[in-house]
């Protein structure tokens, strides 16, 4: 699975030739540097490690500086591994190789985007798990509109089963959105425009897989 690391820029819309109005997300993608090639003998599995986004050397630990020096590059902020990385046509994937958006993605392809969703804090079951609440707002009902309802049966099992969906911290978790169509690749500006939405806020890191 080949892919790259990117950063969300924001959302806008795009009109097709047929007059369709498509909501789309703009992603700043790459250029990513291959910083490590993992192999079966040494690491136990095969993977390609890509790094993205510049970082100051004074904010980088010496061990990390050494790691980036091996690939003959400057320190980077985000490091992501890709297992079963397929070769791209224009660049050979080797240590220190630079992959940009035009090398990997093309217009009309479908990609998966992985990111961290926006944190929503402590939320009730209606927002968190899509419960419909208990009863109605009127007819003398009181206080139960967004309640979780029953916790389970009574004397047997006399306990709440593990995994019972309850209120709690919501969002801020890894989310994968599959099959987003690539509407446009602006290779000179390292931009990728995909249809639909992707997880996370602006400037959040994204892993884009093909």
């Amino acid at each position: 699975m080949s892919g790259l690391i990117g950063k969300k820029v924001g959302m806008t819309n795009m009109f097709t030739e047929e007059g369709k109005n498509l909501a789309c997300t703009v992603i700043l993608v790459g250029p990513c540097v291959v910083t490590q090639l993992k192999n079966e003998e040494k690491d136990g599995y095969k993977a390609v490690q890509l790094s993205y986004d510049e970082k100051k050397e004074k904010h980088t630990s010496n061990s990390a500086i050494g790691h980036f020096k091996k690939a003959n590059t400057t320190p980077k902020r985000k490091i992501v591994e890709f297992t079963e990385f397929k070769d791209v046509a224009s660049v050979t994937v080797e240590l220190g190789a630079v992959l940009s958006v035009g090398d990997v993605f093309a217009e009309g392809e479908y990609v998966d985007v992985i990111g961290t969703s926006k944190g929503k804090g402590f939320q009730g079951v209606v927002k968190r798990h899509g419960f419909s609440g208990v009863g109605g707002a009127t007819h003398g009902q009181h206080n139960r509109l967004r309640a979780p309802g029953s916790m389970g049966a009574s004397s047997w099992p006399s306990r709440v089963f593990p995994g019972k969906r309850l209120a709690g911290r919501t969002g801020g978790e890894r989310v994968k959105v599959v099959n987003l169509k690539v509407l446009k690749v602006l290779a000179d500006q390292n931009l990728l425009i995909v249809s639909g939405n992707v997880p996370g806020g602006k400037n959040s890191y994204l892993k884009i897989e093909k």
């Binding site: 703009v26 509407l183 500006q189």
Partner: protein, 132 residues
């Protein structure tokens, strides 16, 4: 924000957007597809508001059709809009003319801005470069 506005201009191919304000009377030439055929439908009325900015901007046009008020919202940059004619320029004192909804007949009139010079009322925005 600036950055995404510049991208919007590059990805939307429509080069010319018509210039008009709320209170103007316009005719929207809207492309309609029926099977394989394409024809143009006209929608003439008063612009109630322009909403949003950049590629997502829309405008609302209101007309009275058969005694019933009809409003239609068009995306400004839609490729289905063949053109927008400005028939009259109105003089209004607010940007959103929701008050017109409650008025009929004489009360729903808008003062017209007279053109004393021979300048054309339709001013077209400079074209934006298209990026493949």
């Amino acid at each position: 924000m600036e950055f995404i506005k510049s991208i919007e201009k590059q990805i939307n191919t429509k080069a010319v957007t018509p210039k008009f304000k709320s209170g103007d009377t316009v005719t929207v030439h809207y492309k309609i597809k029926e099977g394989t055929k394409e024809r143009i439908q006209l929608f003439q009325g008063v612009v109630l508001q322009r909403k949003g900015n950049g590629a997502t901007e829309t405008f609302t046009v209101r007309k009275i059709s058969g005694g019933v008020g009809v409003e239609r919202i068009f995306p400004l940059n839609s490729t289905n809009i063949a053109k927008v004619d400005v028939n009259k320029q109105g003089i209004v004192r607010r940007a959103r003319l929701y008050y017109l909804r409650g008025k009929v007949g004489k009360g729903a009139r808008i003062l017209e801005k007279r053109q004393f010079t021979k300048a054309a009322p339709v001013v077209e925005a400079p074209s934006t470069p298209e990026v493949a």
